[in-house]
């Protein structure tokens, strides 16, 4: 017997817990965190339940079924065109009214649906109690309470979903508007009855009155006369109410949502302000907010540097101790040379240099992300970001860029216009990711001191700001205004933090080690066939003459394009040691790291840029960064040499 197939989509407002539920159901690892707009593309996973193969679809969070933002387009197109068997509308119990506004729209679309009333723990903390039965009755929709992060109610949700599908989900009844609007919806629905529509007629009529650009365009193609009718009716409503027709429709829908919310929920006033409230006040404080932000970032790098340095030392002693064993096993012959010099050196260098910094970094960054601080940082930096033609929300992908540029590039989709996405994507590629941080902390930090490493981060921020401003000059336009929900602070959920960190680490390991082994072998063979020297020599006018680096760095910079930590790992392989002092002067370390920090996006980032912005723009970004790096690196070398701050 073949299993029956079902399609269930998760839809709802941003940051309500859709992806947590998705991960629980499918065992996959969608990005979760405490800020609105993480999921930008739909994701699919399957599960087997009671003889069904169920496709679960995680959709981007949206506040309305409009088509202004990419998230809205993705989610609406899926629900409207793919017609899933059921939509699970995930609702944040702590912001019921706004969430119900979206639920009402799903009902208008006549989508079969059930509600997952999520985050009831958060709602309880805020003193909100919801009468589930009453809510279900009011809407005519089944409601399942959940605390997704703890897995509570997930099984019941799935059970209810299948039960509703099996029973043949009763299409939920739609809400009614004021009589003068209802009458016009009726007239428009009648007119629409004459043409073949892919949407329900009533929904189409309402969307026309709401001024939905896409529906308007589609109707215009089918029958321009009906659009004319709609325009006339909209004008009539506008005359009656004194507000534009879309405003009237949205207001009335919100009124219904508000009425239901008030009827089903009970809000007990909190006497003591919650800890989260206090934290919120302090972290967006007019004066305190900024030093706190700087302290948080300095603290993060400090902790990572100390932890990383400590672990690195231990691992170093541990792993290099194996070299004699290798010599005993293979003797001092070419085979040992290839295995130890080509593979093991790279693997060990990666374990001792990269991992000690990357693990704590991912962990801390994720805790920060899941606490809800990023939204506060976005609020604080709004004015600054405007100077680059962006708004505060762009600070979030920028921050994520410190972890890895690739998801950060995709994360730029939270920006509203194409221009802003490109601007944000460009600055994101300049942010030193975790891989570059291993070079900054592992080389400059370890050998020159943390203050020099922090100097590099500061230089980086200045460059980001100046280039952002410059890019804004090239791509002028009015920056969009910031409109962002501020989520409540949350205590990061321990198990989720560990899981998400592990997942990111796993991705890193899966890509990093094979690449390192491959590169190590290639380099060994290049060495055997005497190819290293010609290549290094070819690059020496730039590397040696202009940047003042040892010739050997030319090859490492080429391999670094694959992954940035390779620059250091391969340098260690070539030198046969991680004691870089033997080959580089302090000034050379600084310049080398500066170059690595900026010189070109790694291949994965370039690929992400091509996907988001097209290959032309990706090529321009890459080229620009190479030119920038060569200029800045050469200048830094000369200035620092004159100032005599670092030994050379």
């Amino acid at each position: 017997m073949t299993e029956k197939k079902l399609k269930i989509a998760l839809a709802g407002n941003a940051n309500v817990g859709k992806s947590v539920i998705f991960n629980q159901l499918t065992g996959l690892h969608q990005h979760i965190g405490n800020w609105p707009g993480k999921t930008v593309e739909k994701a699919e996973g399957t599960l087997h339940f009671k003889g069904y193969t169920i496709d679960i679809i995680d959709l981007p969070g949206i506040y309305s079924l409009s088509t202004f933002s990419l998230e809205e387009i993705v989610s609406r197109e899926y629900i409207v065109d793919e017609k899933p068997d059921l939509v699970i509308n995930v609702v944040d119990a702590s912001a019921l009214e706004r969430n119900l506004f979206f639920t009402l729209q799903l009902m208008e679309l006549e989508t079969p649906l059930i509600i997952a009333l999520n985050q009831i723990d958060m709602a309880e903390k805020k003193g909100i109690k919801i009468d589930l039965k009453r809510l279900g009755e009011k809407l005519g929709v089944s409601v399942v309470p959940t605390i997704a992060i703890k897995g509570k109610g997930i099984y019941e949700l799935l059970e209810k979903a299948v039960e509703v599908i099996e029973k043949g989900a009763a299409k939920p009844s739609a809400i009614s508007y004021g009589e003068e609007i209802e009458e016009r919806i009726r007239r428009l629905t009648e007119a629409l009855g004459k043409i073949r529509l892919k949407y329900p007629a009533r929904w189409t009529a309402i969307k026309l009155l709401e001024g939905d650009e896409q529906v308007k365009k589609e109707i215009y193609d089918l029958s321009p006369e009906i659009l004319q009718v709609a325009e006339n009716l909209a004008r009539e409503i506008e005359e009656i109410h004194g507000h534009p027709c879309p405003t009237v429709v949205v207001s009335e829908r919100y009124e219904v949502a508000g009425k239901i919310a008030r009827e089903v929920q009970q809000i007990l006033p909190r006497i003591k302000p919650q800890l989260g409230e206090r934290l919120h006040e302090v972290t967006i404080h007019n004066i305190l907010g900024y030093p706190i932000m700087i302290l948080i970032f300095l603290g993060i790098f400090n902790v990572i540097f100390m932890l990383g340095g400590y672990m690195s030392e231990i691992l170093n002693g541990l792993l290099y101790g194996y070299e004699p064993l290798f010599e005993n096993l293979f003797g001092l012959n070419p085979l040992k040379e290839i295995i130890w010099g080509g593979i093991m050196e790279g693997v060990i260098a990666n374990i001792t240099i990269a991992l000690p910094y990357i693990i704590p970094f991912y962990l801390i960054l994720y805790v920060l992300e899941d606490s809800g601080y990023l939204a506060r940082a976005a609020f604080l930096t709004d004015t600054l970001m405007h100077k680059m033609g962006l708004h505060g929300k762009a600070f979030i992908p920028l921050m994520l860029g410190y972890g890895c540029n690739v998801p950060a590039c995709l994360g730029c989709r939270i920006m509203e216009t194409e221009r802003e996405r490109l601007l944000a994507g460009f600055v994101v590629t300049l942010i030193p990711c975790a891989a570059r941080t291993t070079v900054i902390l592992g080389l400059v930090g370890s050998f020159l001191g943390l203050h020099w490493a922090l100097t590099l981060y500061a230089i980086n921020l200045i460059i980001v700001f100046l280039l952002g401003k410059l890019a804004f000059k090239v791509l002028p336009g009015e920056p969009t205004a910031l409109i962002m929900e501020m989520p409540d602070y949350r205590l990061p959920h321990f198990k989720t933090v560990i899981k998400q960190t592990w997942f990111r680490l796993e991705e890193f390991l899966k890509i990093s080690f094979p690449l390192i082994i491959l590169s190590g072998l290639i380099i060994k063979f290049m060495e055997i066939f005497n190819l290293l020297e010609p290549i290094s020599r070819f690059l020496s006018p730039v590397t040696v003459t202009w940047l003042g680096l040892p010739e050997i760095t030319g090859v490492t910079l080429i391999f670094g394009i694959l992954r940035k930590e390779l620059t250091l790992v391969i340098l260690a392989t070539l030198l046969g040691t991680t004691n870089f002092q033997e080959a580089l002067t302090p000034l050379q370390m600084f310049v080398f790291t500066l170059v690595v920090m900026l010189y070109v996006p790694c291949v994965a980032t370039i690929a992400a840029c091509i996907k988001e912005f097209g290959w032309k723009k990706a090529a321009i970004i890459s080229l620009l960064e190479i030119i920038l790096t060569i200029s800045v690196g050469g200048l830094a070398y000369r200035i620092l040499a004159i100032l005599n701050l670092l030994e050379h």
């Binding site: 506040y63 309305s64 202004f68 507000h243 969009t480 205004a481 910031l482 962002m484």
Partner: protein
């Protein structure tokens, strides 16, 4: 006896101080059926609950032309100053 005079004033949201409340009267930007640039953002604001007649409270008004944080329909929303200037509210003083 003391008489309290109630004066209603229409002000941009940016004129409210932290802790003050007002009722939205309108969002002043090109709207309607034309495809104006501000339409998307304005619709977004309404979709997030800022419809005429809604009560909002200013929680935070950031300095240096920074954004404004309001409480609306039981949640917190940050709005850029440029946009907040276009939101008109009625205040009882």
């Amino acid at each position: 006896m003391l008489t309290l005079e109630v004066v209603e004033m229409e002000l941009p949201l940016t004129a409210l101080r932290e802790g003050e409340s007002g009722v939205i009267t309108s969002i002043r930007a090109s709207f309607g059926w034309g495809k104006g640039g501000g339409y998307g953002l304005q619709k977004r604001l309404m979709d997030m609950g800022l419809t005429p007649g809604t009560k909002i409270t200013v929680v935070k008004s950031a300095p240096f032309h920074g954004p404004i944080e309001i409480n609306v329909r039981g949640y917190r929303l940050a709005i850029g100053r440029g946009m907040a200037e276009k939101i008109l509210v009625e205040v009882q003083k």
